[in-house]
């Protein structure tokens, strides 16, 4: 595996899931809020469909990021955590990303399911 490919896998693994969740969070909040307000209602958005779509895309990216981290982790499995960069650093961040992406995936799924299951626009 080339150095460039390993680096790309590690960085995508580290940031991909987080960015996917952040996007779903901001856009999903906007979709839900707009569907419940005077101005947004005039556009008549298919809120549930959009939320599911958003969740699926974000979830797919989070899974891809976890996989990338896993590949980077396996590729550097012989490297010690204290080893000098880049190998040591890549191994370190790959482990970190394995943790992060699991959390992001769980939040993404919880978000997508809840927005669909809950009654739309009911005041909490």
């Amino acid at each position: 595996m080339t150095r460039l490919r390993l680096e790309l896998l590690q960085w995508f693994g580290l940031f991909g899931g987080g960015l996917a969740w952040a996007t779903q969070h901001v856009v999903g909040f906007g979709i839900s809020d707009s569907g419940c307000r005077a101005a947004g209602r005039q556009w008549d958005l298919p809120v549930s469909t959009l939320q599911v779509l958003l969740g699926v895309v974000a979830g797919a990216i989070a899974i891809a990021a976890w996989t990338a981290a896993f590949v980077a982790f396996r590729e550097t499995h012989a490297v010690d955590n204290d080893a000098p960069g880049p190998a040591g650093r890549i191994h370190f961040f790959a482990q970190a990303a394995l943790l992060g992406n699991v959390l992001f995936l769980v939040i993404i799924v919880l978000d997508a399911v809840s927005t669909v299951v809950e009654l739309p626009c009911r005041q909490s």
């Binding site: 307000r37 005077a38 101005a39």
Partner: protein
């Protein structure tokens, strides 16, 4: 090993990174301003209020195009100082500076008009519009002052400190240009 004989890797100077972090915070500030515009948009059936004329399209678009184009001479200046070519850098900075000053003066004149046409004391839309544009122009002013400073400084001599300063300023300008584009889109959004 003394400083002269250390094995060095080419990398961006800490001054550049300082500007990158500063740009991150300012971009976030604009994010909150644009976010406020979008958030309040959902709360209002008419945005802008129906009685107000929509913002002009042509002048802001042409001016923004001119400003964004100054990223080219700024990029040239940034590369030139990195290679120690003081005169090339100075000329590129001058070209950029001239266009940026032209942009700022025209925009400030139009801004005073906008405040009269859209009094912020009468609607939230006008308040956000005026604040957003004001913030954008303030950031352009800071960029113009930075350029002016370096025009003076590298006229006589180019040191590493000044070279990093020019590179950081170029990065600032690229960021301001992106922000200006985003602000333009928001400004023209009533037409969409």
């Amino acid at each position: 090993m003394t400083a002269a004989t250390l094995p060095v890797r080419h990398a961006r100077a800490k001054g550049w990174w300082g500007m990158a972090v500063f740009v991150a915070t300012e971009a976030t500030l604009f994010g909150t301003l644009v976010g406020t515009y979008i958030y309040l948009r959902f709360h209002n059936t008419h945005w802008p209020p129906a009685r107000l004329p929509k913002p002009p399209v042509l002048t802001p678009s042409l001016l923004t195009a001119a400003l964004v184009a100054t990223s080219i001479p700024m990029f040239v200046a940034s590369r030139a100082v990195g290679a120690g070519r003081r005169e090339v850098a100075w000329r590129a900075l001058t070209v950029a500076f001239a266009v940026q000053v032209f942009y700022l003066v025209w925009q400030l004149h139009d801004y005073v008009d906008a405040i009269h046409r859209y009094p912020p004391q009468e609607s939230a839309w006008a308040s956000v519009y005026v604040t957003l544009l004001g913030a954008a122009h303030a950031h352009v002013l800071v960029g113009v002052l930075l350029n002016a400073w370096f025009l003076v400084r590298i006229w006589s001599r180019l040191t590493r400190y000044r070279a990093v300063g020019v590179q950081a300023t170029a990065f600032y300008w690229h960021a301001v240009n992106v922000i200006t584009l985003v602000v333009l889109v928001v400004q023209l959004s009533p037409h969409l």
